[in-house]
Chain length 560, copies 2
């Protein structure tokens, strides 16, 4: 409708064919493969929602904005780009934590925030949802995104949109787009498309890095590979698999990189996480004479809260844009190029692969009158996992317990494993299943985290999705109990299995013991018309092995 509007600057340029700014944005998102936008409407974004509802992209309405952002984060991880659209102030600021998490976890989420119109803002009035100067919202988001734009100028809007979307792709991090509501329909000056300047490897630097790395690998006696989060975010799982096939090296993954290697792969050692991970992985990784780190971020969680014992002199470390061999640093080398080229230079290792961790058969589950325990719960879930399921873990002991879950080749593991924001899993499952309807989410979530965002299952129920939720109900913040106990770690008691009374269709099951759990699991696996919730009653003292090791480390740090 606004195509015929007068140019706001009064330039006399024909504009009948110019696309409205909002339309250009939607077109670019569609081209990038975005099929869904998550969010809650509000008056400053309503006009964009209206345009969205007439586009080929579908809106998925959530109960809150932070859950929309978590869903967009998971969607981005599954699909390459995720989008959340919200109103100014009250909407956008509710996403700050989730967006900061996407930034920390390298997930390319686009947040589109409505705003008061350019004309409305002119005299700096006190408009509702305002909390300070109008520029403050962008300034806040500049600290949790890798690029941002305010689409107030129709002459630059196209360039700005194209630039921030390229940034999201290039850096695999969130970007911020603010669109004043009187600019949604404003014709955008059709500046010619700018070629995307995606980083490419410098051939000489790449060749040298590969040569030095191959030389060391080929002469190593006990080489090993540790694969991390960047393999997932840069979609290099295929490169990695081909490299491993040729080089015949044992491989472990970090927790944030869990599932970048198919976890039933014969050379897979499990999760390496210093003292927190399994013994086989720890031994092979820490004793390697050449350790190849592929896309690993050296954060405290992946390093087992610094219980990792890795010798830099034994390391070859390849990250997104650079390679370190000992203290040699090769810049302008892309991770994908490095892996692909190394695959052709690395000779198959003659190293005897360590005995593949034999899958321990579930020890006669269920046993009558036996209370539920984390170890046996995980063992049972390991057996129940099928290739059409996707494991999504929340923060807390369920995350650490998930270290021992072996997910299948085709599926994936999603978590806020480094940023460790509670409340991630249920909304993330909404985003994941929207992106990949063929994978059923298996959600592991603690009682505290479920109280934060669990009611977002209402949206999954409304959309006919069927996530299966395992609530690790141990009556409070168990991770913290083991650091420092106090009454502040207690929380309200919820009858999680009654959630379906509040909205539906949701099936709920109470699982105080193994027999009840087994029945619940069978019923939930068979129920495909909506979400299922199994309320697993655990003792507050029962924890995963990893947590016991971690909490001892953290305990020492609480007061410095």
């Amino acid at each position: 409708m606004a195509r015929t509007k007068a140019d706001p600057r009064g330039y006399d340029i024909p504009q009948a064919d110019w696309p409205p700014i909002g339309e250009h944005l939607l077109n670019r998102l569609a081209t990038a493969g975005v099929g869904h936008v998550f969010g809650v409407p509000g008056d400053y974004i309503l006009r964009f929602y209206d345009m969205l509802s007439h586009s080929g992209i579908r809106h998925v309405g959530t109960t809150r904005e932070d859950t929309a952002a978590f869903a967009a984060d998971a969607y981005a991880r599954c699909n390459g780009l995720g989008v959340v659209a919200v109103t100014y102030g009250v909407g956008a600021l509710n996403t700050v934590n989730a967006l900061a998490g996407a930034n920390a976890e390298q997930s390319p989420v686009v947040i589109i925030s409505g705003a008061p119109g350019v004309e409305e803002q002119r005299n700096d009035p006190l408009l509702h949802h305002r909390f300070g100067p109008f520029s403050f919202q962008r300034e806040i988001f500049e600290r949790i995104t890798c690029d941002s734009a305010v689409l107030d100028d129709p002459y630059t809007a196209i360039r700005q949109i194209d630039r921030v979307l390229a940034s999201a792709h290039r850096h695999s991090r969130p970007v911020y787009i603010e669109i004043p509501r009187d600019r949604v329909d404003t014709p955008a000056f059709p500046l010619p498309a700018q070629p995307k300047a995606m980083p490419i490897s410098d051939p000489a630097s790449l060749a040298d890095a590969v040569a030095e790395a191959a030389e060391r690998l080929n002469h190593a006696e006990a080489p090993a590979v540790l694969a991390g989060l960047e393999i997932h975010r840069r979609r290099l799982q295929g490169h990695l698999a081909r490299f491993l096939l040729g080089a015949r090296l044992p491989v472990a993954a970090t927790l944030t990189g869990k599932s970048v290697v198919g976890e039933r792969h014969p050379a897979y050692l499990g999760i390496y996480e210093g003292a927190m991970g399994g013994e086989i992985a720890r031994k092979v990784i820490e004793q390697a004479d050449v350790l190849l780190l592929l896309g690993v971020t050296l954060n405290d969680v992946d390093m087992g809260i610094y219980t990792a014992r890795l010798d830099p002199m034994h390391m070859i470390r390849a990250s997104q844009h650079e390679i370190w061999v000992h203290h040699h640093r090769y810049t302008h080398v892309e991770l994908g190029d490095f892996i692909r080229n190394l695959a052709s230079k690395a000779r198959p290792s003659t190293r005897h692969l360590p005995e593949a961790t034999v899958e321990t058969p579930t020890p006669s589950f269920p046993q009558p009158k036996r209370a539920m325990s984390i170890d046996r719960l995980i063992a049972r879930l390991n057996e129940a996992l099928t290739p059409d399921m996707q494991v999504i873990a929340d923060t807390g002991d369920c995350l650490f317990a998930a270290i021992d879950l072996r997910v299948h080749e085709r599926s994936e593991f999603l978590a806020s494993a480094f940023y460790t924001s509670m409340g991630f899993a249920v909304p993330a499952a909404l985003g994941a299943q929207t992106a990949r309807p063929e994978l059923r989410p298996l959600i592991l979530v603690g009682d505290g985290a479920f109280q934060m965002t669990g009611t977002e299952l209402a949206t999954a129920a409304r959309l006919g999705l069927d996530p299966l939720v395992i609530v690790f109900n141990n009556g409070g913040y168990t991770t913290e109990r083991f650091i420092l106990e106090g009454p502040f770690n207690d929380i309200s008691e919820w009858r999680f299995h009654k959630l379906g009374e509040l909205f539906g269709p949701v099936r709920g099951f109470d699982a105080p013991d193994e027999v009840a759990f087994e029945q619940a699991l069978q019923s939930a696996l068979a129920y495909r018309s909506g979400p299922s919730v199994i309320n697993v009653r655990l003792s507050p003292d029962d924890t995963s092995i990893a947590l016991r090791r971690l909490s001892e480390r953290l305990k020492a740090k609480v007061s410095g």
Copy 2:
């Protein structure tokens, strides 16, 4: 315990008697009248929580951090200062929206965020909950608070704490305090207390402002008063009441200032909100030849989305630090001093006070088989309101409907009436009833807003509080439907009256018609052992008069 620790800088100064930084902070909060701290624990704030649990201040654990911040906001409005304590990143960033709201609504909330220890931060490691440079969190909060401090230096910590608490008091806005976890126990260098530099009125400026204002008031033929939000935040209700008693002027309140005048006061006209408010208030305020604005903020909500017709040439406008008489501006005049002095100079008006709005008796409620409607719901609630109740309205049509509720002298009305953040009311009621246990909250909340934060009733239930929740259930975002309709305004259907199945003790009532509502209301009024929820089924077309007027105005603005 750390009193005997070596001074981190190695200065050789005796420190046995120095209070730990955390203890000084808790002492200052207690002195300021803080009896409760809201929040969710996490490892970077655990040591402070431990210290808190051994202090005289009580911790109120919530399910999420944003609800803790809303509770602290309401607590601050009732008590003079509210506190929310959270962990770094995932905790603090979840409060950004609620804190921005407190900033917009002039509510003095202290946010205390834990942080990695100073020693832990030294080599800039990738610690969990980190989302960027460690300084970014403070930089985000600088944009939604009036002052901030990072307590990393024991030599300045006391001054910093004292300064930011003074700022919260002075500006009646939120402040940010970050405490690295290895500084909670660090002895604080006992710098001598600094005298608080609270602003005081310049006597000459005050005298001139009062003289000119009195002169105009005393010669006015149809003077009137409009009272606003600052009267509440600066606790000047007593000043205002005494002034009105002497000056005998008709008075209206803005929506954000609702209840600063006892709403059963004979000279009270109701809410003035341009075209949105009642007719009597509109007429008297807009036709006044001298209109005295006391503590009014000229925001779009209070001005009825700019449908207000106020002539600056008829105005005397007194705000917190300055007075405008027409275009004369008097600076360095405090609002309280101005009102007190004006009271002694203003002669009793001989103006015939307009007929006090007669309370319309509830028209034979309930009528059999009559569906619920907003107008009759509000009329019935008006009758049910007693002086021991406090009305707390969420954002949406329930807020506009509340314009017509007449709250009692002793009680108060709380809302996010300018910032208009959905999800405010239920957590705010938790904060309000914690601060004032003698007042029972009556919560008005829409279905969309209740889905955002309604499960925070679990905390009220755990603490034995008894808020009475009226859910305006009209199947979606009605306020937005009237601006721009689309499928994005639909939401999931919840059986709100079944909430007690999920946690308890909560009584729930379904109220599809007037008879059912009446029974529910009677039962809920009698039930004092926990929260009550009445699910009032309203037609999606049924709205308050104010909303109908507002949405027509907004509709014109959506696309500029």
